[in-house]
Symmetry: C2
Subunit: 306 residues, 2 copies
């Protein structure tokens, strides 16, 4: 964790500026020498930060000689010494780092069910203030893995088999409901073209599976989100956040059999897509259940290792 220690006080990190600065370097390098710099407002939109931060970035670029002139007359300089990018780790906001470290503690270090979570201890371990830990735990509460005892800390309930079973029970209810809604969409709906595009992506990934099996995770997430979008519901979307988070971190540290797992999942998706395209309700249900059952088995195989 990187701090700016000013007047003895460790405060808000400038990760927003650092990320924006890195992005700005890329952006400027794509412009040719002497070209005028886009306006502050334009950069603000392109970099996804406020004008205040854009101005800080421009000042830094000027300091490094990548931009000359000021006010309305700023130009890209002729290529001189490239400026140093900030390391990726300094562009991650504290809150995101806490999440990462906590998930690691929980999933990789196999914390045992019933373990007490100590805010102060985590704060020291992760190198942040207790406020940061509290904030994370309060947000994380909804994922059903921790529980608060007022005035007396938190308990980790465990990433157990029953957690996975309960998760998949809901997931199946939600997914079946959305799949039915999608299958009932009119032929004119844009969902069908999107689905067809996703089908082609699946086929392509299958052809290059040996090199690109890592890319499945993203495809998987987009596929399930397309299905959900057939009948939007904020509570279902919010539930998918849980699934996404769990899978993201879980598979990040559990690479066992990844290629085979993903290949099997792609084939299941293709069957599922065909069923959807056929509009045959019972085929959709069958394919959906089959896919979720195998995803559940995969997760269970690893939770029971704990």
């Amino acid at each position: 964790m990187h701090y700016r220690r000013i007047a003895g006080w460790i405060v808000k990190t400038d990760t927003v500026f650092k990320r924006a600065f890195n992005d700005a370097l890329d952006l400027v390098s794509r412009l040719s020498e002497g070209e005028p710099l886009p306006s502050e407002n334009t950069l603000s939109v392109q970099l996804g930060v406020s004008r205040t931060t854009v101005r800080k970035v421009i000042a830094a670029l000027k300091g490094g000689g990548l931009v000359t002139g000021d006010g309305r007359h700023r130009n890209v300089s002729p290529p001189g010494d490239a400026m140093r990018r900030y390391p990726l780790s300094e562009t991650v906001p504290t809150a995101a780092q806490v999440e990462e470290r906590f998930m690691e503690w929980m999933l990789r270090d196999s914390a045992r069910p019933g373990t007490a979570i100590n805010e102060l201890e985590l704060a020291r371990k992760f190198g942040v203030a207790t406020t940061g830990i509290r904030e994370f735990l309060n947000r994380f509460q909804r994922f059903g893995l921790i529980e608060k005892r007022p005035n007396a800390g938190w308990v980790f309930k465990g990433f157990t088999n029953s957690f996975s079973l309960e998760l998949f029970e809901i997931r199946e209810m939600f997914e079946l409901r959305s799949a039915r809604a999608l299958a009932a969409m009119p032929d004119s709906s844009p969902h069908w073209t999107q689905l067809e595009a996703l089908r082609r992506e699946h086929v392509q990934l299958l052809n290059e599976i040996d090199e690109r099996y890592h890319d499945f995770s993203d495809l998987d997430s987009r596929f399930h989100r397309l299905i959900s979008s057939a009948a939007p519901n904020r509570f279902i979307d919010s539930f998918y956040d849980i699934i996404t988070l769990i899978f993201h971190y879980h598979y990040q540290w559990n690479k066992h059999d990844e290629r085979q797992r993903n290949e099997a999942a792609i084939r299941e998706h293709l069957t599922y897509i065909d069923a959807l395209v056929s509009r045959n309700a019972s085929m959709v249900e069958l394919a959906c259940r089959a896919h979720l059952a195998s995803a559940r088995e995969t997760l269970l195989r690893s939770t029971s290792l704990q």
Copy 2:
């Protein structure tokens, strides 16, 4: 909001102590004069606080002359001047007060969809530090009514019709699933006796509806929780927290037609209970859907007023 201002710092409120003290007054008043005071450990369990707080309470009782002696030889004093109880408002922790005030702002003052939520402004309005507001908002996020824009505050999405519709879509899925599970329970299950007891409570409440219609809310919540308990799932339980919170505050400020509404709901519950007892799946489904449809209509009638 009541503070203890010591050495210029406003810190943790002593609401735990004050509530425990009030409870202890009741407890002591039920003991007869000269009787020995229960041990610190016993009191700790009875009052639901740590021994540290119990000792503070005992010290206060001694100071007020309600308890005499010390160490192992403490007795209840003969009744003298009754000690003043702390007002209820001083026994509510800051976090709970923030919740209350926020729900009031949202539901009663009819905040408009899209309204920006300003941490600093709320902190000033509610008389707490921004940390307290942030903590609440982070927890409250899961209820689907607010959304965070990093580095730029929160937006209130609105207590709208679509919120209610989405809420009830999920509620119906969950409730149907639990009702089916309950209907499939073996005759020997304790659920049936609990259900029978609840049925009698419903009948009784119906008989005294004019005086006791307020008591329905609690009965309603216990009834739906009994159904859920037939097949426990943490995500469903957590979803019921949303429903409970919304209904609790919503009806607290919307008393229109309360008696009639509750009477109708009790009759629906009775039909629903009979269906469950009959174990007839399609009757259960019918009764469950009918009840939820009418609950949804009630909620919609009031959200559309906004």
